[in-house]
Each structure stands twice: as C-alpha cells, then as structure tokens.
Amino acid sequence: MEPAEGTSRRSAFFETRAISRDVVVPEYPELGLIAFDSPNDPKPSVRVEDGRIVEIDGRSEADFDLIDAFLATHGINPMVAEEAMALDDIAFARMLCSHDVPRTEILRLVEGMTPAKVSRILGLLSPLELMQAMAKMRARRTPSIQAHVTNRIDHPLLIAADAASAVALGFRELETTVPVLRDAPLVALALLIGSQVPAPGALTQCSVEEKTELELGMRGLTTYAETVSVYGTEQVFLDGDDTPWSKALLASSYASRGLKMRFTSGSGAEVLMGAAEGKSMLYLEARCVAITRAAGSQGTQNGGIDGINVTGSVPNGMREILAENVMATLYGLESCTGNDTQMSASDIRRTAHTLPLLLAGSDFLFSGFGSIPSYDNTFGASNFNAEDIDDYMMVQRDWGFEGVLRSQGDDTLLPLRRRAAEACRAVLDELDLMTFDDAELERVVTAHGSLDVAEHQTDETARAGDAIIEREITAVDVVRALSIRGFELEAERVLEMTRQRLFGDHLQTSAIFAEDMSVLSALTDPNDYAGPGTGYRPSSARLEEMARVRQERSHVELLAEQAPHSGCVVLTETGPAAVRPRPDEVVVGISPAFGVDVWLTLSGLTVGEALRQILAGIEEEGVHARVVRVTHSLDLGMIGWTAANLSGSGVALGIQGKGTALIHRADLPTLANLELLSMAPLIDASRYRLMGRNAARHARGEKPSPVLLPESGEPMGPRYHAKVVALINRESQCLRAGTPQEIEVTWPS
C-alpha cells in the first residue's frame, strides 16, 4: 500500500510499535497534571508560636485543612522547623547527595520541613542525584522485595503453590487480593500456608477494604497490611473514607495486635479522583508522606501505585516517581517503592521506569512484582510479571545489583508447590471448607497460571470465605489442622508467625524476617551507605547465586553437541599443500579445528555437509576444487588469503569450523574479501553451494551476484556468541606453526 500523501512508511511503521499505544498529555496544572512545581503550589513557609506550628506553606492555623492540622500537631517538629526552613534549597539538595552528610542529619532536618519545602528540594535533583540520595537514605541496609500472588479465580491451592514458588525465588512479603471480596479470608489463609513451606518468615497480606483487612489481621490470617491509603488533598482524603485521625487510629489498631503495617500513597491518585486542587504531583505526595510519618506508620508504599499511568502521562513523570520514593526515605520511612503497575505497553519504557530504582536500591524494590502471569494479577498487571522473571534475573546478573531474587529450577519448585498445595488442601478439608481431587491438585502443581487449572470459578470459594468468618477460624485453627494432617513443619512455622506478635519486633521501621527468622530492620540493619566501599554489597556467595541463571551454559555444555557428529567427514593430511598447480581451480581453505575438534557449524549443519555443498558448487561450474588446511591462523581473512595464494586461479574459499565463510583473492589485502557470509547461524546448505559456485565464477573472471543472507531481525550475538567463544577456543587449541597441508577428503560410507 502506498503511504498517504505527505507521510512516510517510517511513520506508518511507528504506528505499529507498542509505544504508540501509550497516550501522553501536555502539562495541565489546573487538573494537577504536572509533575513538579505547579504555579498553584504554595511557597514554603512555617511560623512557630510558643512552640506550636501556626502556619504551614502560606496557610495560617485558622485556615488549616485536616492535613495541615494533623501535620501541625503530630508532624512538623517545631524545635527544628525554623532552622530547617531557613536552609537554602540548593544547599540542602547537595546535602542529600553528599557522602559527608550522614543520613541521621538529613532525617533531623526534614522533621522540621513543610511539604512545599521538601517537594521543591527534590525537584532540584537530576535522576542520578535522586539515585544517589536513595542509596544513602533508605532505612534498611539489605534490600528486599515483595510479590503479588493472586489468580483470577481465587483458587486457594494455586495461591498456596504460587506463594511457595514466590518464597523459593526470594520474595519476603507476599501481597494478595481478590476479585470477589467474600473470597478474601480463604485466599488469605491459603497464602499464609503456602508462604511458610519453602522457608519460615515471609510476611503475607490481603489487600481489601480497610476494616476487612484489619479483621483478617486480627485473626492471624495475614501478618501485615499495606492498603492503608492516604491522599494529598482534604477532599480526596475524605472521598477515600478516612481522615488523618482515623488513619492514625487504624495504624495503632494494627500495632495493638502485633501486626506490621505501612501506609500507601502515590502521585496521580488525587488527579484520578478529580480533586488535585491544581497542585503538582510531588507537592501532594509530600503531604501524603508527611501524614504517613505523622500518623506513626513505620513505612509507606509509594511511587505512583494506582496512579502511575497518570504520572506517566506527563513530562518528567518517572523522575517524579523516583523523587517520591526518595521522599519516603527522607522522612525515615520504610520505602516500599511501587513498580507494581505496568506503566507502558512498551517493554523498553516499563524497564526504563524501574531500572534506576533497582540500581539505587530500596527497602522493597517492588511493592508487588507479579510472581504470577499478568492475566492472573487481580491488581492488574505489575510492571514486571512472571513472564519477566528470567529477564529480571539476567539484568540482576548483568549489573550485580541486589535484586533479591534467585533462579530456581523445576527440581526445586515442583516439590515445594506440591507440598504447599497438599498442605492447603489438607487444611481446607480438615476445617470442612473445601475439597479438591488429585487431578486438580496435579494441575495446580505444574501450572503456569490459573488457565492451566480451571476455566471458571465456582461459588464454593465465597462460601468457604463466609464460613471462615462465621466460624471465627484463626491462625491457631490453621496450626491445629496442619498438625493433625501431618504437616508438622508448616504448623510450627505458621505458629511462629503468631508467636512473633508477642515480641512486636517487626513493628519497627523496615522490619522483615530473614529466612533464619532473624529480624532485619532499621534498628538491627541500618543503612550505612556513605560512598564506595560502604553500605550493602552483595557477598561473593550471593554474586555467585545471581550468576546462576537458567540460560547459563558451561563450555562443556555448549560443546556437547559436537561429539555426536565426529567423523562426519574424514580429512586426511597428505603433506604440504601444492602451490598453484593448475589455473582452473578454487582452493577451499579450512580452519585448524575444522573436522578435527569442531564438527557442527552454528547453523546446525555438520562441517562435512557444509564442505560437500561447497565442493559440489565449485564443480557444478566446471572448476576444479582442492582442499587445504591452514594451521597457523584461525582468522578467516588469513585462512582465505593463504588459500588464495595457493590457488592457481588466485581465488579461494575460506571456512571456519563454526561455518563462517568468505571468498578471497590473492591480490587483495588480507582483511579484504570478495564475498563474506559473517552470520554463520543463517548459512544453510543452499547458500554454501552458491558460495562454491560464486567462487568458481570469480575464478573464471566473472562478477557473480553476491550470496545474500536471509532477512532477519534477530540479534545473533546474544544467542550464539557464547558458543562462538567456545568454538574459537577449540580452533585456537588446534593452531600449529607450519605451512598449509594438502587434504584428501573422504566420506564415511
């Protein structure tokens, strides 16, 4: 089809790219569609009278909205406010990135700052400076990571099995949610059981409406909570059915039951709810984070979250997201840093969103890496999902940053999934909640996602959920049922999660349980990053673990396919190669290991077949073919050129064991050639034959059309270069000094 008048085929091509499905907008401050510095943002100010905060960001006490009022009473420290607010913005921005200013000094000063001040300062930092600040300011030294574990049919056995897989991969917090609210107790129970199968101590939560979520926690069916949302304008806060005071009491309610809890915020929410008051996203987020600290939450989940696509639609949106994450750390909060919603149809763009944060590190790199396939994610697809796990492992390996995950094979995962599914089935049966037959359990164990288990959801899950509530089933009942059915290890681990409530150690900032049940928190494991050689560094054992990805192949593995083809052609050296014995010949120069130690080319042809096609091609043109082995070089240009100087026609064809081939002529410089087929994986039998024919035509002084490789957009390097290195090493081991050898070719019968 012809392109429309005035348009190019390139433009039409662009329309087919995934990035063209992303729709972005210009800044529109009146709607709050602006990342930094809205013209409507207030100027930073504070006034302290008699030790009380009586003005915040241009608004005096009488006009305080609920957020201002709560911050004045519980948030901004009047003892530090005047000192902190008098600091020059740039000077403080530099302190954030300086290795010489300790984290604790930053925390002390931010206590006295207003939201407008903090957001203005963070707006001054470049992406790199935000990363530096993040590395220094996060609370816990050791990074961790959270998973989403959900499925579209709320299948409890699949939840349990996927929880086990997630913990085996290294996730330390698991978050679930449900499409059907009545399923929540059942799904929470299944998640709890599965989470303790591979190792003790992973924390679990079920994200539902605030009050229901608290009830699940009180019953011990969850061990932490995160869906405690706060917003940056009074109107949206109220629309979210809370106030700063109710949220503060909710936080205390969790503490009263020994349950870990963090608040949630994130830019874009106020825009989505239509009441951003024309303020910038970062300013409103500063109000959220300040409220989070003031209400006594130990941490926050922020960085876009549900509003990420709103933030992503405006210029500088991703820098704003990273600034939000940094902001949480400036308030001394546990930073659970988003990356939990797919923010683009483009793989490049969604990766670009997440990578800077990964390299900088945070308390939880994701507040929900989708450990299940995107279609099963009932939060909506995460920015990274089960489909991306191997990609993530590889990026972690490339950079050596602490991405917290480790590769696991089916040999490890399948037994764990089976154990989790069986334990969950036993508990549901013992408690008369649901039953599952063996066939369904088998489908769960090997499933990639819920489509492998069942097409539809029955009403049974909701009825089981109701029964858990009505019969007041708690974690203690789960422990009993596990034990009665012989799952003693899991019973003990679930009980230990209940026991930990007596201590409350995990209520401190950034607390998690390591797999040995030790507590890692801002108190036991404070971030001490202060430049090179300090802070968290992966141990050598951990780097080894990161390096072991599923795609890793040793040279032995890479070369294993060679031996079965040994002897596919017999190449016998009969003495030094003859020099230009006849004018009507093409010499085929073979590399040192060709048909000696290398038997299979990169395209999967044997070296024998490649050689047979070349010789046949030369002979089809009525030209004589002769084979010599070049032993002193593995460089293809040198092999071809050496052979050309032995050829009576001056034309030769050179080929390496891996299959790369060229046509050379004696009067050309060594590194020149007449034709080169460099992409060995793409050279099939017909092309070797055509190379032979073209070499013969060159020998006759003709100018044949060059052999073309098939069109391919696939990058050859990442797929073949490890093998190339292994094959070149074999060539190298066959190198020997001396003159080329005449070869007699015979074919095994």
Partner: protein, 132 residues
C-alpha cells in the same frame, strides 16, 4: 525482670509474655491440638509495645513511638471494640456526642492517648464542618 533489648525475640524470648502470661515457647502445637492454647494466648502485652515504643524513640522516630503507645492502649480492648472505634472516626460516621462517648470509653479503659486523638479529631472535624 530482665533487661529487654531489641530484638526482643532474640534477646528476651523467654522473658516476654502474652497478655495471658504465656511465653512464646509455651505456645506449642501440642497444646493447640489439646485445646489448652487459644488465640487469646497470642495477644501482645501492652508493656511489650511500650518497650518497642522506647526502641522506636531511640531510633529517632517519636511518631512511631506514639503509635506504638496508642497500640499498647488498644491492646486491652476487644477486636470488636477496636474495629468500632476506628469506624466511628471515619468521615460521616458519628456525631460530636458519639465521638465524645468513644473518647470517654477509651479513657475509662486506660486509653488516654487514643482518647486525646479522638478529642483532637472532634475539634478539627467540627472546625471543618464534617460533623455537628
């Protein structure tokens, strides 16, 4: 009483008791099966939360400390009460009088800090026209 050091589960595993006086390791699977241990035996003691509040304060977070102290107060109230208090503070749920009743109830049960929070809420909800 032994000195309590963070993390309590590591340093004071035997010293910390639940509200019913049980140490963590007295909560056993066997006793759960025998029915001599129930969920009530796993309730955190207010004094433990107050000790955690001190740790939080030493760690530089007085707001987290306040929260843990309010939690210590709520620890002695039933699940239903705690859920009811929270619900009452949400927008549009209660009149001034109803919130005052809750504050009084909290105070009567030793919840001085939580009661103060409710009084603050009454002040600001009224000022912002949320309740009457």
């Amino acid at each position: 009483m032994a000195e309590l050091n963070y993390p309590l589960g590591e340093h004071n595993r035997a010293d910390v008791r639940s509200q019913t006086g049980k140490a963590a390791d007295e909560l056993t699977v066997a006793d759960i099966r025998a029915g001599t241990i129930t969920s009530a035996d796993a309730a955190v003691d207010p004094d433990t939360l107050r000790r955690q509040a001190e740790f939080a304060e030493q760690g530089g977070n007085p707001q987290l400390a306040d929260n843990l102290r309010r939690g210590a107060e709520l620890a002695l109230f039933s699940d239903d009460d705690v859920l009811r208090f929270y619900d009452a503070l949400r927008p549009g749920r209660s009149s001034v009088a109803e919130l005052q009743t809750i504050a009084a109830e909290l105070e009567a049960g030793g919840g001085v800090r939580c009661a103060a929070l409710v009084h603050e809420a009454i002040t600001h909800y009224t000022r912002r026209g949320l309740i009457s």
